[in-house]
Symmetry: C2
DNA sequence: AGTATATAGTTTATATGTTAACAATGAGTT
DNA sequence: AACTCATTGTTAACATATAAACTATATACT
């Protein structure tokens, strides 16, 4: 359905660039709401699951520092502090120290966290596959390319 | 640049559906950061500007109710309460009453709000045009179509 | 008219995000 | 060793988002 109907707008868009940008925005919002609804059933948030995904696939046995997490999530490191605070309180992850640099916290999943993650992941994979259904691999790669170009445009204009 | 480099990931993605989904997510994040940086220079937030945009183009002379705003922004109506609280405190908008229904608040831009909006809008248009540069109208319409399909998939799976 | 139901807005508790200021630690230079 | 600068994490103040419970009002129905 077009954005005009989904958002109950009275008037459509004059500029296709603007419409495209809002489509990116609101598609993220839709995906996020769907993910949130799922994760709520298992007592997680989508952001917390993302942390666990990064710890699992990017951290391996070594874990990840809070700055590494903030880089991989494109968020501020102050945000990671409170996020890990909450996840530590729920015993999903633990802060450990890094020998050789006393500034750094290394974050690792707990056994409990890993159990929950391994239960959630295949179900979440299904949700993603559903959301991206009906496209060929080529179409998805084309979409990725377009979005990379948009981000490149944005980064260029920041300078 | 590919997401793997932008997020400093050690490993790429096994599943192209997952990569596509994250590209949608992080492109929104990039666009939002760029918009935020701009709006900060004129004392607004991107969300507040969006409210003013909706009041201007969708509200016309009649303004919009808080529920209408929440529909058009895909957010909860509780969120609109505090958002309008802050905007009213900054004298950007005003709550007025709707004759015939005492439950409803009608939100309208103030003179001050309109002045700021009219100053910001052409500059913001430029930023959007820059972000969406390098694509033909057809390519943008194709992108819109793909994202509409994704949202349709998501809405279908919610039922 | 009276009752049930729906709608609009607010409040509270919570999660996620920002920036700015700060403390602790590490690294490089003289 | 002492000084400077960079990096890591935390804290505080704030903006934005949710869900759930609440109040006030409107509407529909018998």
């Amino acid at each position: 359905m077009a954005l005009k109907e989904e958002l109950k707008l009275k008037r459509g868009f004059d500029v296709v660039e603007h419409e495209a940008m809002l489509n990116i925005y609101y598609t993220t919002a839709s995906l996020k709401k769907r993910a949130d609804a799922f994760f709520k059933t298992i007592g997680l948030t989508d952001v917390q699951f993302n942390v666990m995904m990064l710890l699992n696939y990017q951290g391996g046995n070594d874990g990840l520092s809070q700055v590494q997490l903030s880089d991989m999530m494109l968020v501020n490191r102050a945000n990671v502090t409170t996020l890990i605070d909450r996840m530590e309180k729920s015993a999903l992850v633990a802060r450990t120290s890094l020998s050789g640099d006393r500034r750094t916290n290394i974050i690792k999943m707990t056994v409990k966290g890993r159990k929950i993650f391994e239960k959630a992941e295949p179900l979440y994979d299904q949700i993603i596959k559903q959301a991206m259904a009906g496209f060929s691999q080529l179409e998805l790669k084309k979409l990725i390319g377009v979005l990379e170009q948009v981000r490149m445009n944005v980064n260029k204009s920041e300078k």
